[in-house]
Structure formats: structure tokens, C-alpha cells
């Protein structure tokens, strides 16, 4: 029977091709627009490190001005001061921890013809690589002894390795950065978490860095720091030393805590630390430390942009308009079919079979609309990609989840749209219809 209904559906769709086309296009546009915006939102709110996002915690301490909160909503600064960062690092209370800052450097490759070039860098401590699961092609990260001894070592990404060393195993070779020689200890494969959760201070969707050096290189002034710096108080001391000891926040500190107990222990450690610092006249604000895991952190920092949320709301309303349109057209179509339905009922068709037949017809329209919608969504994402350029890089691709949900959404919504018209159609009085013929 199913195939017979499919055939009937085809006949009916072809017979009223104008209306059917209108419905398919309307559903397609609605699905296309929603899928485009939902995809952008979905990718913006994606979990960048799913297998351990609940064990990685960002540390926030409220070291800000007593007269004025850092954020109006009361959340503490998203970064730490150098003093607090190094104190927490030295306390060594977490399973793993990584203190880090954004930096940049100029690489001077060997050879007369090669020009120096600028790279984005991250100055981080040893655990960074294991905590965030960086994929190594050659070698590996440095150990904490290298941090302590301020060794000039570097981990580079495969692109830099290609550019400077022609892609070969460069572990053990020297790389001249900002006029100093650093020994390459590891080369990583492509690694680009979106959002770049471990440092969103300059934009949540920036690319991962090209080279990684020990955090101590910043204090040694072997690498220039970049990124966001926020101060509520002018540094008291002179020069770089004064800056390091200031109340300016510019560091990210992450800890890995395997279970809930560890988390609670670490939070009480943080609170005890702040109480202790209060004795030095710091941390004058009420206790407001935050230990958030990756997804909580991204939520607190609202990495999904307002524009994206607004457009998703708009496009979902757009989908509703398209569905209302479809309901109206299906209704019109089913009313036009009253005589046919009356005839079929008189010949013995039960309401249930009639219902099945017309629902199958709606579903067919839904599937066609869904497929068209996917094409529109693909076009829409291409369009958004072109409009935003590199600002939304990596956030405009359809994945299988999205394709499946688009089709499902199309079928479900077209069946929903078909329910009322079908019900109306099945309630036709056969006698009346037959009389008027």
C-alpha cells in the first residue's frame, strides 16, 4: 500500500505542480535559513575538547579594584596577574597546570635568501601539551625542569617546520627567534580548537599559535608578549619588573583536576590563597573565585556572538512563516480534494487509510523541501563565509549531524503542517460530496 500511496502522492503533487512547488520552495527556504544560522551557532558553541572538557578548569581570581567591579555582572577578570599566576604555579596543587600568555616573535631562518618572518607564539608551562592533547609529529613538549631552568626550547607547528626546515624532523635543531637561539624539541601536527578555549581574550575563534616557548621566556624578555592587558592601577615599580609585579591581568591559568573531589579541594586552596593575599593588602573585593570547566567557561564568556543568536531567532521565525505558508496551501489543496475523498470513502476507504495517504503526501513534500533546504543551507553558509571572510573561518561547514537534523526537521515540520489539513480532509461528508457531483 505504501508504494501505492507514494504513487498517488506523486500524481497529486504533479497535478497541482504550482502549489506543490511553492510549498517545497517555502519549506526549503525556511529549512535553509534556519540550518545556516543554527550551524553557525552550533559550531560557535561546540565543545573544543570533548573527551576531557569536564576535567579542565580555568582559574579566575577577583583581584580587581575595590571601587569598581571588573564586569558589571560581577564576574571576575578572565585573566590573572603575573604575581598570582606564578604563585599558583609554584604552589603546585593541581594534577596538571598550565600558566600561559599570548606572545609573538620574529623567526630568522638560516640561509642568505630567506627573509625573517613574524609568528604568533604562546608562552606556556610544560603541562600545556599533555593537558590539551597536542598531537606531535616529531619529539614532544618540554618537561617542567626546562621551565625552571629557563631553557631556550621551542615547539613549532608543522607549517613553521615546513617553512624553516622543509618539513623534515627538526628536533634538536636550532631556531633563531628574536635574535636568540631556541632548540626545537617537538613539532605538532595541525591543531586548531574552535573556540580557542584556552585563551579567548583576543577573540574566541582565533587560530592556534604557530610556536610554543617556555613561559619563563617572557620574564627573561626573550619573547615579546602580546594579547590583552587590563590594569586598574598604574604599576608602582619601574620598567618591566614593575609591570610584572603590578595588578595588571594578562595571564591565563588552567588546571586539570580528574574528579569532583579534586575540584573542591582546589577551589578551597584558591580561597585560602586569596585570604592569605588579603594580608598583603591585595584582593580587597569580596571573595569571588571561579573554577569553571571548559564548557562553563565558554558559557560565562558568552563566546556565541549576539549577532549569531539574533539571526538564529530571526531565521527560526522565518521557518515558522514558511510552515504557516505550507499549512495554508495544504489546506487549500485538501479542500479542493473533497470530492475525490468523498468518492473514496463511499467506495469503502477508512479514515485511517485516507489519513495515511495524505500524510505520506505531506512527508514527500517535506523530504523534497528538506533536500532543497540543504542546498539553500550550503549556499547560505558559503554566502556567510564569503561575507565574513576569515572572521568566521571554520564555522561555516555542514557536518553530518546538521544534514541529518535538517532532513528530520523538514519531514517533521511538513508532517506537522499536514496534520490539520489532512484531518479536515478526512472529515468530509461523503454523501454531501457525492450529491454535488
Amino acid at each position: 500500500m505504501f508504494f501505492y500511496y507514494l504513487r498517488l502522492a506523486r500524481i497529486s503533487i504533479v497535478k497541482h505542480w504550482g502549489l506543490s512547488l511553492l510549498m517545497i520552495v517555502a519549506i526549503g527556504l525556511g529549512i535553509g535559513a534556519s540550518m545556516t544560522t543554527v550551524t553557525v551557532n552550533y559550531l560557535m558553541s561546540a565543545n573544543p575538547i570533548p573527551h576531557k572538557s569536564s576535567q579542565l578548569y580555568n582559574v579566575q581570581l577577583d583581584s580587581w579594584d575595590i571601587n569598581e567591579p571588573y564586569n558589571d555582572d560581577g564576574t571576575p577578570p578572565e585573566q590573572l596577574t603575573y604575581r598570582d599566576g606564578t604563585n599558583l604555579l609554584n604552589a603546585n596543587k593541581a594534577f596538571r597546570h598550565s600558566l600561559q600568555a599570548q606572545a609573538n616573535g620574529v623567526i630568522e631562518p638560516e640561509g642568505k635568501d630567506s627573509l625573517p618572518f613574524m609568528v604568533s607564539a604562546r608562552a606556556n608551562t610544560a603541562d600545556f601539551f599533555t593537558m590539551f592533547d597536542l598531537p606531535f609529529i616529531y619529539g614532544g613538549g618540554w618537561d617542567s625542569a626546562a621551565d625552571l631552568n629557563k631553557q631556550q626550547v621551542v615547539v613549532i607547528n608543522s607549517e613553521t617546520n615546513q617553512r624553516v626546515f622543509g618539513g623534515e624532523n627538526s628536533v634538536g635543531r636550532d631556531l633563531k627567534i628574536n635574535g636568540n637561539y631556541f632548540k626545537v624539541v617537538g613539532v605538532i601536527d595541525y591543531w586548531d580548537p574552535k573556540p580557542r578555549f584556552y585563551d579567548i581574550s583576543t577573540g574566541a575563534f582565533n587560530d592556534a599559535e604557530e610556536i610554543f616557548v617556555p613561559f619563563a621566556m617572557i620574564a627573561e624578555e626573550k619573547i615579546g608578549r602580546s594579547g590583552n592587558t587590563n590594569c586598574w592601577k598604574t604599576p608602582e615599580g619601574e620598567g618591566f619588573e614593575g609591570f610584572l609585579n603590578s595588578e595588571c591581568v594578562w595571564l591565563q591559568f588552567w588546571v586539570e583536576l580528574p574528579n569532583q573531589q579534586d575540584k573542591e579541594d582546589y577551589l578551597s586552596f584558591l580561597n585560602a590563597y586569596v585570604e592569605e593575599q588579603k594580608a598583603f593588602g591585595r584582593f580587597e573585593r569580596p571573595l569571588n573565585n571561579k573554577l569553571l570547566n571548559v564548557m562553563q567557561w565558554l558559557e560565562q564568556q558568552q563566546v556565541v556572538e549576539d549577532d549569531a543568536i539574533m539571526m538564529m531567532a530571526m531565521s527560526l521565525m522565518f521557518l515558522i512563516v514558511c510552515l504557516l505558508n505550507t499549512v495554508g496551501l495544504l489546506l487549500a489543496k485538501s479542500l479542493g480534494k473533497a470530492p475525490e475523498i468523498g468518492l473514496r470513502q463511499a467506495l469503502g476507504a477508512s479514515r485511517r487509510t485516507l489519513f495515511a495517504q495524505y500524510i505520506i503526501e505531506s512527508a514527500c513534500i517535506g523530504i523534497a523541501g528538506g533536500i532543497l533546504g540543504l542546498c539553500f543551507a550550503w549556499l547560505g553558509l558559503q554566502g556567510i563565509g564569503a561575507l565574513y571572510g576569515d572572521m568566521l573561518k571554520g564555522l561555516t561547514s555542514l557536518d553530518t549531524n546538521m544534514v541529518a537534523s535538517a532532513i528530520a526537521l523538514a519531514i517533521v515540520s511538513s508532517i506537522l503542517a499536514g496534520l490539520y489539513p489532512t484531518w479536515r480532509a478526512c472529515n468530509v461528508q461523503p454523501s454531501q460530496q457525492l450529491k454535488s457531483q
Partner: protein
């Protein structure tokens, strides 16, 4: 007028169809008005002048990596080279680029001391050539003299004795009379005095989303820093030709640094407002497509209802109704449906706007846009029903005599 009641009662016999179209019109109005409103807000932001002579300006990043680099000498050499290049009007070293999104801000206050109210301001560290290079309009006071310019070491926390501020900054500091700001003293870092020697009309801060975007100050500093920027103004129309020439001249003159990101102010503006532009394009597409869908929906339903009523229409014609009367029947019916949708839609538009104001901190919608949306939707409705109505009017009276 008798007809109106008749049409209305006939409409009630097919409530659901009319209801659906009405709802569709309501949602269309809701989305359309809010989308237009958001586009207008973005356009207004993009139309604000930066204060710069954008068309003739570009900048380069100068990143120093050599360890034996005499910064003061090199800066003077670079500036001499730039200012003497044929076709260059003027050039400066600058710490931040307007509209670029990255820069410095400080607080200025009219009374010295901790805990006093201060006004946030963007800091541009420049020399006495800044007004000429950037193309600023000095509306009060005077420019820096060459003796005002000091060297600034990196991480230095003291400030020079003089400053030039924008009119908006002067208004924020001295609300009663911004003219009076010239010659007055403002305090930076809570207690370091700076004398305001001049006021420029407009110079935007680097952050175009900041509510204090019009508040900037010029500080007479030449910076010793490993990374700075040179802003270069060319003679009209010669910017693109000079960009590669200057890049090469700078790169060749000193090998201890990299010259990179040679960028025009036009590019910075495009990049800065790319998100706004993109949203505007997407929203206008949404509005157009949505209106089309609603319009075609109206056409489809009207065609169907006319097909169903062929015989009735024929009968009316046979009983003496004119073509015009048949047409106006459907047009009036459409106005009734549209009115229902529009009343709902106005409520929806205001409701959606309230949600947007609350969750995404936008500003409240203005009434003109809603009036505009209402007119557009009435017009679209009438236009959509025109073809079906004409078809109905052309149904021959003889139809009444035929069966089915």
C-alpha cells in the same frame, strides 16, 4: 458599506485559511520591522566619520627583532625617509590605529586624586605632525610644538605635560562649555597633570563598539618600542602606487626589523565593519525572501479560493455584478485579512524588540519603521491578490449555468 459585512461573514466561513495568512503577515511584519531597525542602527554606526582622511592614508607595522638596534636614531631616520618620499604628504609614528580594534585607553579626571570620577579615553601617542598626517580638524587651541615631544621608553608610566583632546572628550570633561577646556588641566593616572592645549573635531577611538568611541586624546610621545606603526598620508590618488614603494624603501633601509601588514585605512574600515555589513546583507535577504514567500502564499490561497468559488462568482456575475465589483470583493477581503495580521504583527514587532532589548541590549524600535512595515505589507497584499482577483473578474457569467 453593506458589502463589508457580507465579505466579513463570508470570510468567517473559511476562518482557518484567513487565520493562517493573517499569522503569516503578522510574523512577516514582526521580522521585517525589527530587521530594518537593526539595519538602520548598523548603518548609523557605519556612517559616523572617523575624523581621518581615510582615502589617502595607509599604515605599516614596524617590528624590530635585532638586538643591536638604536631605536631613537632609527625612528628619526624612518620618519625623515617617509616625509621626504615624493608623493607623501606627511607621516607619523603612532601606537594604535582608529577602528582597528586594538589600542590603549586611560582615564582622565578634572580633579586630582584617587577615587575621583574619571572619563575613559583612547590614547594616541604621536608627534607634532599628527594633525596634518591624519587630516584632523583643530577647532580650538593649538598643535604641539616640536619641543613638546618626549621620548617614551616601553613600560614608562609617566606622561607628558600637554595633550590635545577631541571635542567629545572635552564635552565629557567640561559638560557646561567644551570651549573652556583649552588651557585647563586634566589628570591622568589619577594624579599626573596634563594641560589641554587643543581640541580636534573628530578622532575615533580604535574600538567602534565602545560607547565612548568619539573620545580620544593625542599625547606628544615618540615611542621606543619593538613594535610600532607608521601612518602615512599620500597626495590624493597616489596611495596604492606608493604603498609597495614605501614598504620596500623601509625594508631596505634597515634590516633589523620587519615591515609588515601594509594596510590602507579603507581596509581597516571594511574589516572593522565587516560583521555589520554581513548582518545587513543577510537581514535584507531575509526581508526580501520573507515578503516574497508571504506574497506567493497569498496568491496561492486566493487562487484556490477563487477556483472553488468559480460557480458562485459566475452566479454573481449573472445576477449583475460588474467585473470591478468582483475584483474589489477580493481586494477588500485581502485588506481585512491583512489588517488582522498587521494588528497582531505590531504587537509581535514590539514584543520581539523588547526581547532583543533585554537579551542582546539593543535599543527600542521607533514607530516610523512600524508604519513603514504596515504600508509595505498592505501594498504587498494588494499586489499579490491583484492577479487572482482579475482572474476571478474574468469568470464568464455563463459559468453559473454549467454544472460543477
Amino acid at each position: 458599506m453593506l458589502e463589508l459585512g457580507l465579505i466579513f461573514r463570508a470570510l468567517l466561513r473559511n476562518k482557518v485559511g484567513a487565520l493562517l495568512i493573517g499569522l503569516q503577515i503578522a510574523l512577516t511584519l514582526t521580522i521585517m520591522t525589527n530587521a530594518i531597525f537593526m539595519m538602520q542602527e548598523r548603518n548609523a554606526q557605519m556612517d559616523r566619520p572617523s575624523g581621518l582622511d581615510e582615502a589617502n592614508l595607509f599604515f605599516v607595522n614596524n617590528t624590530i627583532f635585532a638586538t643591536d638596534y638604536n631605536q631613537q636614531v632609527a625612528l628619526e631616520e624612518d620618519l625623515t625617509l617617509l616625509r621626504n618620499t615624493e608623493g607623501v604628504v606627511d607621516a607619523i609614528q603612532i601606537n594604535a590605529i582608529p577602528m582597528s580594534g586594538g589600542g590603549w585607553s586611560m582615564g582622565l579626571q578634572t580633579e586630582s586624586g584617587v577615587g575621583k570620577d574619571s572619563v575613559g579615553v583612547a590614547v594616541y601617542m604621536v608627534d607634532d605632525h599628527a594633525i596634518n598626517t591624519l587630516g584632523l580638524e583643530l577647532i580650538a587651541g593649538e598643535n604641539f610644538s616640536i619641543n613638546d615631544i618626549q621620548w617614551r621608553e616601553s613600560s614608562q608610566t609617566t606622561w607628558p605635560a600637554k595633550t590635545i583632546i577631541t571635542q567629545a572628550m572635552a564635552e565629557s570633561l567640561f559638560a557646561d562649555d567644551w570651549h573652556s577646556a583649552v588651557g585647563k588641566t586634566a589628570y591622568i593616572s589619577q594624579e599626573q597633570p596634563m594641560q589641554i592645549i587643543g581640541i580636534v573635531k573628530t578622532l575615533q577611538a580604535p574600538w567602534n563598539g565602545w560607547d565612548g568611541v568619539e573620545r580620544s586624546m593625542l599625547v606628544p610621545f615618540k615611542m621606543e618600542t619593538m613594535g610600532s606603526r607608521y601612518m602615512i598620508k599620500t597626495e590624493p590618488g597616489r596611495r596604492d602606487e606608493l604603498m609597495p614603494i614605501i614598504e620596500k624603501a623601509l625594508a631596505d633601509s634597515n634590516k633589523g626589523r620587519i615591515i609588515r601588514r601594509v594596510t590602507t585605512m579603507d581596509d581597516i574600515r571594511e574589516r572593522s565593519y565587516r560583521g555589520h555589513n554581513a548582518v545587513n546583507k543577510i537581514l535584507s535577504t531575509v526581508i526580501v525572501v520573507l515578503t516574497l514567500i508571504t506574497g506567493f502564499g497569498i496568491v496561492g490561497l486566493a487562487m484556490f479560493s477563487i477556483n472553488r468559488r468559480t460557480k458562485q462568482i459566475g452566479t454573481r456575475r449573472a445576477l449583475g455584478a460588474s467585473k470591478g465589483q468582483i475584483m474589489s470583493y477580493f481586494m477588500i477581503e485581502n485588506i481585512m485579512i491583512s489588517s488582522f495580521g498587521i494588528v497582531l504583527g505590531i504587537a509581535g514587532a514590539i514584543g520581539l524588540n523588547i526581547w532583543l532589548v533585554n537579551t542582546l541590549s539593543m535599543s527600542p524600535i521607533n514607530i516610523e519603521i512600524i508604519v513603514f512595515g504596515v504600508i509595505v505589507l498592505y501594498f504587498v497584499g494588494q499586489l499579490a491578490v491583484l492577479y487572482p482577483a482579475r482572474k476571478a473578474a474574468n469568470i464568464p457569467p455563463a459559468t453559473a449555468t454549467r454544472t460543477a
